[in-house]
Symmetry: D2
Subunit: 341 residues, 4 copies
């Protein structure tokens, strides 16, 4: 059955599997000390334009979020995020498990505004009882957001300025970063992300890898003993090559961007088709996620032929659903979907 | 350069990579809900002879240890292990990070004896101050041990009996389980392990997989919400298929045992050669790890041609080193090593 | 200077200090195993009408909240509370420090409604992705609330019913319980609290003790090894007698209720005076906390003679402030305050 | 019945209770912001000769150990201590609960030698695999030790030197510090402790207070937001005055030292009597704890008249027991004991 359920329904890009095969019998050191990890890191540093950056490869997104937040915060510090933030609602409390509170703020289309962050921080630091409270020390955003929306460069700069003013770290969860960067009309580049964030990651799992996220500390100021912290959190792979080969391949000849663009191209075709056939978008997006309001009847009949995600009830006769394209989506699949609309 | 440094220097068994390729474009549900995970679990349940067992696939060994221990113990409980236990010395405090104390006992050739465990438990439960102490609730062993040694069936039964008597869970870390089971002369089978342990895992990372450990609760009594706990510990892979396909392949037509046996065969050839040439074994083993005492001079000259592990200083002129074979070791590699001895 | 800043500005009720003096040289066992702890617990069990209850004495409120929540929840479970809950905003993240997420719900006058709790729980258990989320397992309320308001018996029963229906524990933070129980017009008795809650505590620190909260498990089903858990959380006093003597005194001849009533009587006099002089109440209360809207000018002049708490800005020319009476408040102090209004 | 069971069997020194009474109705700010806390801290700073020190008052010893260790260590760091250390065996895993591993070293008479510490640290920092291990960052000792023994000034200096050399913090648990300082023959003064340690505490609970330990950072470099960390660990008392008044009293006119000396004087009388009557000391001590080898018969008959602590089995017919004197022990009690020997 046709599926637009998510961007992690297929395995890995063919070139990644090829490289895993080609390198398979090379005897390499463990724990990420191999030449493919080194090469991947070098290529990422080049791509972001920060030769002194530090890069670490970690298997999954929740894992990355919990390790980055736990290691960059003191035990008494918490992290600010939009109330729709992935770390708040959909990571089974992994951040709290490490002892840190997630401090939520309002969201609009999945985004956290600099104004709301500033308002919170101003109020906090003016509060005489603040020593009895969790100390905010980091702003977490994702780009694209949970709703597939994107920050503008000005919005990112404004968040960066608030962070500067109030001594907060800016952490960008880029689980779908490729799709954000290749979105038409975005004015945010990978170098902007590197320039504005204290830490961010380049998602592999949802952009063509079997697994893997590349955590980047652009200023080269990773927390001390970050390697040991990764191990302590149970996240160190013995065969680090698995991550190294994948990211090395993704950052060779711009593959990461090329395959991300495929998802955008396909999503654009889908968006055009939905619009053309009179469907309403629940949230306007330009990335690989499309949120459409369907009549329940239509939803049921579509479901017989294609898988997509339930998002939320719209009203008694309508539902918001999500269609996601990916690095692997083909024109033929999009054609078949369009034929069903 | 030739390497006998460890059993995780190569990638994955060729059949695994083939299957990853073949299944790559199938659109599958995420988070381990796919058919390959299901199939792998079924095959493992058949292999252990417990159709009602529960099986979970987790990416790495330290991760598995921390999750199993943390979810099976109450917060005030600790885990007993030999002072050479991997969780005690070489996992960066991952178990303590989850709040549990590792309670150490003496070891002999890497093994924990039932007598030492019983002695500790008897003393503990007779201590009037025990409510001020960490409550022991689990015995952790590895098979093979850190020293490549194996428990006998009688030794496992004795540990099991102590666990029964004192209300302890028995947890067997099988990161190298295949090499233990295929060792010549062992009287311990996979079904014995399943019959005697409350929980154990079948190591994939060191036995032919890119990553992955299969955690087995033979009695089907996994901790409640174990899936959520895996997520909470950051260990849930979006593309669970990566683990599913690997274990499904390893447990098809006995591949796991076949490739483990390769390591044993090669290690046996190496052991014969070392013995034949008059080298001394530091610890006698029958698995894929060989601990040899080398003259420092010899060690240095060997190092120019082959990589192996430093274990410990023996005396001023000798060193204990480790040679490990694996699922990938070839006769040609062994021949080259023997020629150097 | 006159102070109505809080209910913990004085030391302890005179009878408590007397008893500490009288018993001072008795040689008693440590860690709460002394006869005064035993006697205090018996008296509390009698007062709540549950002879099989289990009672534990702990030094402070935040400590009690963190221990109760951490020991009654599994690691993957979270606690629901009103967004104004003390554990959410004013305990420095102590609950999250133990690894549990605080899940917030709307509040009205500081109270959490059964309807809002049910709505959350119904939605949660209908969510197909709930295994990726923190599992709700407890409802935390305080009585009186942060705003000095009280639940009615019907409201408590409704919360209890929601807990029953969705498998949640009901935990009542009674840091100021005495003031709630002695409030005029309340229909909630101590026996009601014991009948409806899975666990609650009777606050000593704010009701006449130097320190101490009495945690009650009315059904006698305290978490296993709760004593060890108290120690593990650093909360076990060597001289448990300090808590035992205090609670034994408070629950002798109804002292706890008598001194709580003093606070209510004084607060009622203050409320009458505020009303009479035309002040506006921000939140209507019947306990020992009074929230009044003051003109900023008036606030400043009052501040020269009396201490009270800043609550929040009302508008550009008015401020909400809090006056609190206590077990120690005298008529003479109230007279002096009234003269200043 | 006569009791020499411990040094926390009585309440508080009479002068402390007097002061609690005298100050009882003063309306004071909460959370340790009152003038008695301020005064106590000033007096302690004077006593140690470090005017720039930072001092914090915390209710109990285990609590203090866990907070100090958790706040001074990074998450990936552990603490070294003798295998008999209180934090290792008798605090219900409170340190591990905060995520840190206790790394044990050999002991002699309860003491950790600089040589053993150096040996561990040297080996650790030479280990190529150390990034997979818990990073040692602090040495924990107690003075007096669990066995009532004392470090000499030279031994403390040697430990300090090892700490300097290997970047370790030196933390001295002074739960019974008074008894150590007033011991005859010791060459260690309070100022020496302050000069050599990065952090230590002056025990109140066992030296005349109802509860309370004064944590001292002699160099004035307490961990950032230490107040918030105390709250986060559940250890902040609303009525901080309880600790303030007690330590202010103990450090007025040398009361702390005077009452500690009482314990030593009484212990010396007891030691003389034991020696005189031919009893054997198991461990030679000069503090308030005396470890005697008793014939089991004698032990049983003594037990009918006096309480003392079981320490360990000596042989089939003998037992090691502990007699402890305290600030409250009277000559008359000692006379009665001697008459029984």
């Amino acid at each position: 059955m046709l599926s637009f359920e998510s961007d992690y329904t297929e395995g890995a890009h063919a070139r990644i599997l090829e490289r895993l095969l080609e390198t398979n019998y090379e005897q390499l050191p463990g724990y990420g000390k191999d030449k493919y990890c080194d090469s991947a890191k070098e290529k990422i540093k080049n791509a972001i334009g920060h030769p002194d950056a530090e890069v670490f490869l970690i298997a999954g997104g929740t894992q990355t979020n919990m390790i980055v937040i736990d290691t960059m915060l003191a035990a008494y510090e918490g992290v600010l995020c939009a109330e729709t933030g992935h770390i708040h609602g959909h990571e089974a409390g992994a951040v709290e498990y490490t002892g840190h509170k997630v401090l939520t703020l309002p969201q609009k289309d999945g985004k956290l505004s600099a104004a709301d962050a500033e308002n919170y921080l101003q109020t906090f630091f003016a509060d005489e009882n603040r020593d009895h409270m969790v100390q905010p020390a980091m702003i977490y955003i994702s780009h694209p957001t949970e709703y597939g929306t994107l920050y503008t460069l000005d919005e990112l700069k404004a968040l960066h300025a608030v962070c500067d003013k109030y001594g907060q770290k800016l952490f960008l969860d880029g689980a779908r970063l490729g799709y954000g960067l290749m979105s038409e009309g975005t004015d945010v580049t990978l170098r902007d992300v590197a320039a504005l964030c204290d830490v961010f990651y380049i998602g592999g799992t949802k952009v063509g890898a079997l697994c893997g996220e590349a955590v980047v500390f652009p200023k080269g100021d990773a927390p001390a003993h970050f390697f040991t912290s990764i191990k302590q959190h149970g996240a160190l792979l013995a065969k680090g090559r698995l991550l190294g080969v994948q990211f090395d391949t993704l950052f060779t000849d711009g593959l990461y961007f090329e395959i991300a663009k495929n998802a955008i191209d396909k999503a654009n075709r889908m968006r055009d088709a939905f619009a053309c056939k009179g469907y309403t978008f629940h949230i306007p997006t330009t990335t690989n996620q499309i949120f459409v309001v369907l009549e329940n009847e239509k939803m049921r009949s579509l479901r017989e032929h294609v898988r997509f995600g339930f998002w939320e009830k719209y009203d008694d006769t309508h539902t918001v659903v999500r269609f996601a394209s990916s690095w692997a989506t083909t024109d033929e699949q999009v054609d078949r979907l369009i034929a069903l609309l």
